[in-house]
Amino acid sequence: MQVLIDNYHLYLRGLGTTLQICLYAGLLTLVVGTFIAGCRVAPLTPLRAFGTAWVTVFRNCPLAVVLFFMAFGIPALGINASYFVFGTIGLALYTSAFVCEAIRSGINAVSPGQAEAARSVGLGFGQTLRLVILPQAVRSIVPPLGSVMIAMIKNSAIAGAFGIGGDLYAVGIRQSSAQGEEIIPVLLGVALGYLIITIPAGLLLGYVERKVAIAR
């Protein structure tokens, strides 16, 4: 355990980097996922096809493959950015397929009569979704969306392994393989770090769930 105490600043910095990845990827994936969910329920066939294709690709490709593309494919096209940016975007795109499906299931849980009434007073598709459907869908979206977000936090370790470096997981790997520290305490430290993020995230989720449940 001495290794954790001696290097606590490294772990703390790793925790900070992991939090940063999750925050940026989380925000991006919510925006993209909501947009794709909108596409999937749109009245226009091309939009629906686009949404379905998006989900099919990102839900069915392993995250590692998506990250490979971001790390080596995109730079090969001449687009350059730090791996932090690529890794975060890759994680967000991959997760957006799951976010989309969580939101879509919530949309489908709202009675179709609500959308019919909204369209009957002359609201357009976007207004119907924004003003009538999504506010009612939130209640049933929160629990599955929370699981998706927690899965994303854990998946950030894979983005870390791809060379973002400095995140919680990468710190652990470096400690044990490069500096020859014992693996068990190091991994326990890493696991503790993730728990420090995911357990409060779970509690926050429960709080939000109760909050939206009574907001009517």
């Binding site: 009569g113 009434a117 909204a118 369209r119 009612q136």
Partner: protein, 251 residues
Amino acid sequence: MTEVSTDTPMIRVSAVDKYFGSLHVLKDINLEIPRGQVVVVLGPSGSGKSTLCRVLNRLETIDSGAVAVDGVPLPEEGRALAELRADVGMVFQQFNLFAHKSIIDNVTLGPIKVRKLGKDEAREEGMRLLRRVGIADQAEKYPAQLSGGQQQRAAIARALAMRPKVMLFDEPTSALDPEMVNEVLEVMAGLAEEGMTMLVVSHEMGFARRAAHRVLFMADGEVVEDTSPETFFDSPESERAKDFLGKILTH
């Protein structure tokens, strides 16, 4: 602005066919509703009367034929369709009030977001309509806190807030407890007296006799009788109408 002559029918349905899979639910429907007319559509369940109602603002698409409202053919999906729907009020069997909004917000949502009315103006107009349907004291409540009859009256106020040219009622009293039916019919009869063009799918024979100018009797996707309420109830021509009336009037 295109000049619309006063004899353009408010609703014109020409040679409309619709299928649900292999089921032919509307068979070559032709119908003109002049401005100010109140039409009650009767018929056994599965006769296509609700579908006809929903076709008029394109909640259901048609497979062939044409529908025009106030001389304008129903547009395809998109902004033009939304604009047309804003002019066509619709009242549903299940009320379909927006469950997450208060009654007054239900009524003002369309005027604010579609008609671009100011909040205060929309609210004032909304309260006027709620007073008119007799539920102004319920304005700040949520739909689930109201009785069925009150919800349906709120739904009528919501439709009226858009200042529609025509009102469609799809079985507006079928989901109501019996003691609440009259309060809704009362509001509808008031509208009819004021000259609103209305198409009402309903089983309320009393309302049909009292408020309707015209009765359509549908069976198996066809308009079987198209006549005045007196003629329909007192001397129906078709066997199917006689059979239908015999079943509902004997009790």
